[in-house]
């Protein structure tokens, strides 16, 4: 049963509605995103309205409601990075790949995430790709780094979910 995983997570926190966020984090860790039908199960079992779960899921930028790309591209939009051109870099990436900030390319190559400050202002503007930090990026260098990404064969977490 596809509900088994979510039931396990709920069990882990003894179905305590106060632990909604950790449960959602676990759910996302297992699936790569928050599958809506699993959130429905969560809502029913915890007796937390679905609208409230949706509220939480959309409030925190770390939660996602759609499967993400194979690579994760994070752009810092903190004050310093922004002043040093992060906004322009974001626009350029979005235009090149026809996505919105927070979106995933149609081939699921990567997901672009804008965050507010990664605490590395001295390195501004900062771009993080799959956990690796690139400092002092420009529009050109950022696009070049992304163009070096490639699609792996279907073993990613997102594909595991596709059966569900």
């Amino acid at each position: 049963m596809k509900d088994e995983r979510i039931m396990k997570i709920i069990g882990r926190y003894e179905a305590d509605a106060g632990m909604l966020i950790p449960m959602m984090q676990d759910l996302q860790a297992e699936n790569g995103y928050l599958p809506p039908e699993q959130l429905r199960v969560l809502s029913k079992k915890l007796k937390v309205p679905l609208s409230r779960i949706y509220h939480v899921a959309t409030f925190y930028s770390s939660f996602r409601l759609a499967p993400k790309g194979q690579h994760e591209v994070t752009l810092c939009m903190g004050t310093v990075c922004y002043l040093k051109g992060a906004g322009k870099i974001s626009e350029a990436i979005c235009e090149e790949y026809s996505i919105e900030p927070g979106g995933t390319t149609s081939d699921r190559l990567f997901t672009l995430q804008a965050v507010n400050c990664v605490g590395a202002c001295a390195l501004a503007p900062v771009m993080i790709v799959d956990g690796k930090y690139f400092d002092g990026v420009s529009t050109e260098s950022a696009l070049k780094i992304i163009s070096g990404l490639s699609l792996e064969p279907a073993t990613g977490t997102a594909e595991v979910e596709a059966g569900g």
Binding site: P36, L39, K47, P49, L50, S51, R52, I53, Y54, H55, T58, F59, Y60, S61, L65
Partner: protein, 897 residues
Amino acid sequence: MSNKINLTIDGKPISVNPGITIYWAAKKLGIEIPHLCFGEDLPPMSSCRLCVVEVEGMRNLAVSCSHPVSEGMEVHTDTERVRRARRMNLELILSDHNIECITCEKSGDCSLERYAYEFGIKEPSFSGEKNIHPVLDNDPFIVRDYNKCILCGRCVHACSEIQYESAINIADRGFPAQISTSFERPLQETTCVSCGRCISVCPVGALTEKFRIGRGREWDLERKKTICPYCGCGCTVELCIKDGELIKVTTPKKDTINNENLCVKGKFGLHFINHSERLTRPLIKSDGTFVEATWEEAMSYIVENLDRIRKKHGPDAIGGLSSAKCTNEENYIFQKFIRACIGTNNVDHCARLCHSSTVAGLARAFGSGAMTNSMKELRTAGCIFVTGSNTTEAHPIIALDIKAAVMKNGAKLIVADPRKIDLVRFATIWLRHKSGTDVALFNAIMYVILNEGLEDRDFIEQRTENFDNFRDVVMQYTPEMAEEITGVPAEQIIEAARIYAGAETSSIVYSMGITQHTTGTDNVLSLANMAMLTGNVGKRGAGVNPLRGQNNVQGACDLGALPNVYPGYQKVDNEAFQRKFEKAWGTSLSPKPGLTVVEMLHGAENGRIRAMYIMGENPFLSDPNANRVKKDLESLDFLVVQDIFLSETAQYADVVLPAASFAEKDGTFTNTERRVQLLHRIIPPPGEARPDWQIICEVSSRLGYPMSYTDTARIMDEMAEIMPIYGGISHKRIRKFGIQWPCPEKQHPGTPFLHKDTFTRGKGLFSAVDFRPAAELPDDEYPYVLTTGRILYHFHTGTMSRRVEGLDAIRPDGFVEIHPDDAKVLKLKDGAMVEVASRRGTVTARAVVTSRSRPGTVFMAFHYREAAANILTNDALDPVAKIPEFKVCAVKIKKAG
């Protein structure tokens, strides 16, 4: 007094209770503080920052809606600094607001517009990016334009903390944040129940009634309050009218039972009054078709025929159905017409089909067959025992009291119902018994109470009688035995008994799931036993509360639209009462109790009844065994129907008279908590339609018993004189807010709860009630149990609600709820068309596969003429109350086609 807090606001000293906020303290002093996000009946959001005030010694301005008062505080609500801050906050809000005030429906009633005007803001000084949202008009009732939303969150709170549905919340964060359903679905795909409370709390034009758009500005609307004509809650509605057309419905803030709440029918379902199919002229059937006639022609025709039949067959060959939809005054006039003019007691109405077993049962046990308590007392009950009442759908406003009792006051809720009704969500325990096994369940609960010594010995000794006989029967019903009969596990029965008996005050709430059985009176007696056993009668918040289904079914009973009693439950076969009414009405009266609804209709078959006069009822759809009712109506010699629409029953009439709707007449309705409330004529009746009481008065006068009244207040005065329970009530007294009967004298304040120190009948009477199975049980040929009921979006036979576009759009067709296990056996998919057949007929309906139904039991609503559940239902009657068994019959199901 020592724990009061002293402070000054704008130099004025005030002493208040600790914990209240500056806003409320200021309000007490008559100081209005501007606010947008704060709604007085909702928790503070503290987001708009318009209510900021200056507090001496505080560095920052204080948010008055959420900042509690403290000792010695000096508050200034109108300083230059405060004004500057408020103006700035207003400008910030306006900077992302779609300023379309010249075409906005809310203009004239918009808080943002009002404050912008007060602060002289012509346009916001901040220009920049604005959110652009599509206008969401994919709901039949509510248009959501979040370009005008100021994110105050009031709608979210109303939905989650008044209605407890939580269909909406704030999605996203920061600039793109907006109110949204989960996954941005249309409202109808969420838990939304279309109560419209979100619209009423919205301070701006983000939420609008769809119907009103383009139909008139706020200042064009004429507002008048009256009472909702749907269920027995008795909500006050304010009809907003332009040029005779209902534009929208709101509700006043004060002097109502509904605390600013309405349900979908009250809020959006009253537009039927302007429907093009309203009857506007009398109709006379000629060669099988209706032809328009003048009032003169119709009256002469009616009088000629009634007179002929009365002369030839006697007065008892004529029967009248009065109406739970009509006013008290009209019911009084109608039964007076039948009794004093026609000369028979053959008068009844649809209460026979809903709560006659309540009237019979509670009158026997307590002496009075009505709700013992007030609706709002439910909020204070320690335990609420709901059985056979799908309260959220059939009495939505009372359901709000029950939900609030659980969610806000920690009341324990026991639900005993075969269906998984919505209240189960709030229940401490849910007893899912088999349909028709109520007595066994209640007896077992009482067995546990007695077995564990949880009964109220003092109450039993001092206030009741016949306890020993009762105990002998109950002590045979062990939880284990009841488990066999009811299917409820013994341990659940034990737990429920402990909860019910353990609470300080326990209130029973029930409705048709209890009454509409051949054992209806037994079921009611059993519940009365349970309340007396634990001393839960005669106290605030504790009692036995039958929820009445029609707006004025309580009143129609009170006014004697029943075959055995005169107004005020004074028995017709009691000589003293007979003399009293003969004197009052100046004519001799029959001492013989008349026939009930079903008896009258079936009486047409053997010629016992030759003519019927039906005022505002639709027995064709509301009565059991519809095929037989059809034959009965056809075999009548003469049938008069008086209604606002050409109902299914009216089709069989010889004469149809056009009546005025609730919005077109004065009078009173008595709601389910015995509150007599005044309604007001708001618009004129369409065409030549007339109020029912005027029509009846004229027929009566022409038949030789003159009745004439200048207005309905005079009728009420006459009623008050001869029925002690209404003795102190007059239209003048209830102009502001209704009074609960008994109200015997002009100074009497009314009675919120009954049987305080003594029962109406003296001592409470225990009854020994044994379990009897339903009249028709499933067998090999008809293996399923059919139970019937209502849904939120329609009312009774749908004459009104099915003529409301949005209501019918949401629930357009008849359906049958089937448990997934049964669906599997029947190889049915959700949405398949099925044939449901009983021994009395067959209907086709859409299958809804859902675990709401108990396995083996299917459910149908009876609103739909095209899938009329009452073609299937059993017309077997309760021997005492003569109520038919709508709630249990045996059916078979197969795929249609």
